[in-house]
């Protein structure tokens, strides 16, 4: 399977199964779209007739170059080299290696689009996690991770800084178990920033391998959606704190992470605004909501959003100092094909734990009784439900089988699928279209970086 596209003025062919990417001239771009594999020895008369604007000799020359790529396994490669049955069984026996630890089901913001019902996940009970529950969660992931060494824990909420004592005690406990259990913990915290102080900034910069800092962009956009309990925007309170945190972060990872909605669809300006504040790593993402939510993106918004991504890519082509999360594609050294078959791992490699010790496939499912996986206190874990998630891969999801972007996206988000389509198995079409566009922009930026 070959996907050809034009983005940022560059013509590109992605050979989906091999992972090869080629930059094409105009003639070859049009020629390749006429080719059906396997390629014949010479450019056929039918193809010459279909492209009368080009000289036959030039088309034949280009044909031979394409043929050479085909012979080298860099064009029209099949996916026969992947043992799909083995890959599927690996996922079924996967070990849990990542926790989204909901240390707080309470929040000091009232964001209008919050999927967590402004912190309590629709439960009506605002609470923080006690250390005993967090300790059980750490013991759970150590036991369930088997021989895996690297374990990730994301302190999440609600707002995790509202449970800073639990965060600190959990880190201390996990660190004490690293050597005896042969594990390496990596901690992330996702915060809205309101409660950042000099002391917890130092702590986060010392202990957290990644910090995800929530900011939607321009003051008027952020403050329209991200408000305190008194209805006041939070931009002025959080930006100086985030700047202070990042200034002390050294080489450790961080992302300024925003959400865009149909209320403010010109999100390229928000990305560039965040960059103008001195933040290098930026992730601004499409909101996911039910179709009747006023902020939710709708299918009819697709063209405008895709144009906005292209506009953002145009602005970022001369800004190598800015790392936009979704344009960051590592073509050469990225994850192996096995990883790319499997998707996010929610429900089988990754679970969320609530303050009450309940286990869900990921943070987005928390509070949905149909997707409760178990409980740390009951010592239960629904293997059948976990297995349903483990069965999801780019081969089993019907819509992914013939998608050119499948090895880059790995099947998308089950929670988004459930929100929009009512089932975890069926990909969310608008999400797919946007992912494909982001990837085209990302690959085009790589081509430009390489001198296209």
């Amino acid at each position: 399977m070959v996907h050809t596209f034009e983005a940022l003025g560059v013509r590109i062919a992605v050979d989906v199964n091999s992972g090869a990417v080629h930059i094409l001239d105009e003639l070859t771009f049009h020629l390749l779209r006429q080719v059906t594999p396997p390629m014949g020895e010479h450019c056929s008369k039918a193809v010459l007739r279909a492209l009368p604007q080009y000289a036959p000799a030039a088309l034949e020359e280009s044909w031979q170059e394409l043929r050479s790529l085909e012979k080298q396994g860099l064009l029209f490669e099949t996916d026969d080299y992947i043992d799909k049955e083995q890959a599927a069984s690996m996922q079924q026996s996967a070990r849990i290696k990542a926790l989204c630890l909901h240390v707080s089901h309470d929040c000091n913001l009232r964001c209008r689009y919050c999927f967590a019902s402004t912190g309590d996940f629709g439960t009506g009970r605002r609470m923080t996690m006690d250390f005993e529950t967090a300790k059980r969660a750490i013991d759970f992931v150590i036991e369930r991770s088997g021989g895996r060494r690297n374990i990730e824990v994301d302190f999440f909420g609600g707002e995790p800084l509202m449970a800073m004592d639990t965060v600190k005690r959990t880190v201390e406990y996990a660190r004490s178990r690293e050597q005896p259990c042969g594990k390496n913990f990596r901690f992330t915290i996702t915060t809205n920033g309101l409660l950042l102080t000099d002391e917890n900034i130092d702590y986060i910069n010392r202990e957290m391998s990644n910090a995800v800092l929530s900011l939607d962009g321009r003051p008027e956009v952020n403050d329209d959606l991200r408000r305190t309990v008194t209805g006041k925007g939070c931009y002025d309170a959080i930006v100086p704190k985030f700047q202070k945190l990042v200034a002390g972060r050294g080489d450790k990872d961080y992302y300024l992470r925003g959400t865009f909605t149909r209320l403010h669809p010109d999100f390229a300006a928000d990305v560039m605004h965040i960059a103008s504040l001195g933040f290098r790593h930026v992730s601004v993402e499409p909101v996911v909501g039910k179709q009747d939510d006023p902020y939710a993106l709708r299918p009819e918004d697709a063209q405008a959003i895709m144009a906005e991504y292209e506009s953002l890519a145009q602005q970022l082509r001369d800004r190598p100092d800015v790392n936009f999360f979704h344009f960051n594609v590592d073509l050469a050294q990225g994850p192996c094909v096995i990883k790319r078959l499997r998707g996010c791992g929610a429900g089988c490699e990754y679970v969320a734990v609530t303050p009450e010790g309940e286990i869900y496939p990921c943070h987005q499912f928390v509070g949905n009784p149909d997707y409760r996986l178990g409980s740390l206190y009951e010592q239960t874990f629904d293997r059948a439900l976990s297995s349903r998630f483990a069965a999801l891969n780019i081969d089993s999801r019907e819509d992914c089988k013939n998608c050119w972007a499948r090895f880059y996206c790995s099947g998308g988000c089950s929670a988004s699928n459930l929100t929009v389509n009512g089932t975890i198995e069926k990909p969310y079409a608008l999400g797919c279209a946007l992912e494909q566009k982001r990837l085209e922009c990302a690959i085009a930026l790589k081509a430009i970086e390489a001198g296209a």
Binding site: H22, T259, F407
Partner: protein, 47 residues
């Protein structure tokens, strides 16, 4: 080649031989939390 510049070779196919150790980061954990992308993740086994 005159008409084509190859930006990237068969890296995906080549990774099949050494892949599958599972030590890599869970893709949703990094910075997105809503829209997964796996291609920007790092490989942990230094293949």
């Amino acid at each position: 080649m005159k008409h084509i510049k190859t930006l990237n070779g068969a890296t995906l196919k080549n990774s099949a031989a050494s892949g599958g150790c599972g030590e890599c980061q869970t893709s949703c954990q990094s910075a997105c939390k809503t829209s997964c992308t796996v291609a920007n993740q790092k490989c942990e086994n230094g293949k």
